[in-house]
Symmetry: C2
Subunit: 317 residues, 2 copies
């Protein structure tokens, strides 16, 4: 089948033959989204060779349980063992033996087909169109913040970064009723937020030492420094991005101010689907362009442009 | 009065005349303890000029409210404004205008007398002797961990470091019933723990990625690295030490493993006094030597020796 292959920091379209995994569903991919992690994998920040892609919506074409066949689905990206200490303690996204769709030892979704265990799949409600469902994975990641931190309606919350993930975080945090302000660098990012009546704040207007919860979603040392400056003593700083290499920080000040730093990654799919079904969030506003699979290289070029939000890849039937 | 004065990384005993602050109690110091922060102040890690010392027990000799006069007391070290955003939100130890006894803009307790507002004072129960009461401040700091983190009886808890503060943390964490293991480098530290049936663990026996809560109390990059290796995904890493300068860490792994890092500083005095009154903890086992105020320089030399726990300074009546 036709697929976007990553090897040695290079992507190309090639014909890949994939052995059929007997315990897994075969999914015909309909749409797949390009995420910052994909761009970082291409840059070689993490070692991975195989088919890229982990944000998708597709249709089950083969499965042991016939009830799945014909269902339109999204899929959790961590394929887990169910037997390790993390799995046995309810932390299966941290499975010690996990493979990760399009990221770690498992071919991804910029391809005609992908395979996943049916236990990873979630049926997409009929009222959620493909271009919305393809955002389930990043929207779930945004919701992970609220799995970890109780964001109270009275909290002053600062979100640093309004890119692909930042926009989804902004939309979900706004639902809590908290006093949310977002640092957004690009005009298009700002305008999407303002359309949802989410307040944008300029860096120089940020009062230091005043914010109950700060979410860092830029992945840059500058973004972290800004978040650190803004957070109040005993406040919670959520780190929602990965960072290149090591970062140098003043831990004494973290101790003196009793700051709580919390790393945040993959989140829950069902509430993400519920919020989209109810139209309480609308990730489709992030879409800037859609390419066919045969133009996936162009799609990646477009996604890598500064300030560009979501680029989708459509896999024709 | 005679006092231990710090200026330009040098301490000496000198006669210091202190203006009487009308709104504060005058306290005759009975005993004061040397803490790692004092040693760091002498090394110049933080800028401070004045009388050193913040761990003390004393007797009120003058106060506006006559009921305090003659009371044996300990005192909270942060003197706060009561009006800033932190004070008004119940975080008075983080007061933005605070002075800190013997640390920030306020003369400390290696002296015949010290002054504090009566709102900072706590009466010492009669059954708690001076040599125990002098540990109230560091014991309260140990208890701050349990103000911030719910340590469950089922938790596997690793404490890295068994020095002055580490010993008190070990004694208080052991009260939770958690599965506590302590990394203690020196034989004397180990033997104190074993006498209380607290388990000591060798570094090479620490299973990585397995501990629910890890407390870092060494203040060294090596201690942090060990703590980071030990903590399980979604675990809580309590940082209970200050660190010299900046520290370089891999934040991506913190995000991927969704680690919770929490800085921890000053804690509550009343529960510390209660635990000592009930003899549920016994900090006096940490005392290695006591010096008179006139030998305070020798006391500091002794306290700076490797593996030495608590050195006290007695101020004769």
């Amino acid at each position: 089948m036709n697929a976007l292959w990553l090897e040695n920091n290079r992507i190309d379209l090639r014909d890949v033959s994939q052995p059929r995994k007997p315990d897994e569903a075969l999914i015909k991919i309909r749409k797949a989204g390009i995420c910052s992690t994909d761009l970082e994998l291409v840059k070689g920040y993490y070692p991975y060779t195989g088919i890229l892609g982990h944000e998708f919506v597709g249709e089950v074409v083969e499965a042991d349980d016939a009830a799945w066949v014909g269902q339109r689905v999204v899929g959790e990206i961590n394929v887990v063992c169910g037997r390790c200490e993390q799995c046995l303690n309810g932390r299966s996204t941290h499975c010690e033996n996990r493979t990760v769709l399009g990221i770690v030892n498992r071919d991804g979704t910029f391809a005609e087909f992908a395979q996943l265990p049916t236990s990873n799949l979630h049926r997409v409600p009929d009222s959620v169109p493909d271009e919305m469902a393809v955002f389930t994975e990043p929207l779930a990641a945004a919701l992970e913040i609220q799995q970890q931190v109780q964001v109270k309606p009275t909290d002053r919350v600062l979100l640093v970064g309004a890119g692909r993930l930042g926009q989804l975080i902004a939309q979900t945090l706004a639902l809590t009723g908290c006093d949310l302000h977002v640092v957004a660098r690009h005009a298009h990012q700002q305008s999407l937020l303002k359309k949802r009546e989410i307040r944008v704040i300029a860096e120089e207007e940020i009062q230091p030492w005043r914010w109950d919860v700060v979410v860092e979603a830029t992945g840059s040392p500058g973004g972290f420094a800004l978040a650190r400056k803004a957070i109040r003593p005993r406040g919670t700083l959520v780190m929602k991005s990965t960072y290149q290499g090591e970062m140098s920080i003043n831990f004494s000040s973290i101790v003196v101010d009793e700051i709580n730093i919390i790393g945040s990654r993959c989140g829950p799919f069902e509430p993400a689907l519920r919020l989209m079904e109810a139209r309480q969030v609308d990730p489709t506003v992030l879409i800037v362009e859609e390419f066919k699979l045969q133009d996936a290289l162009k799609a990646f070029e477009r996604a890598a442009e500064t300030g560009v939000l979501k680029v989708l890849v459509e896999i024709p039937r």
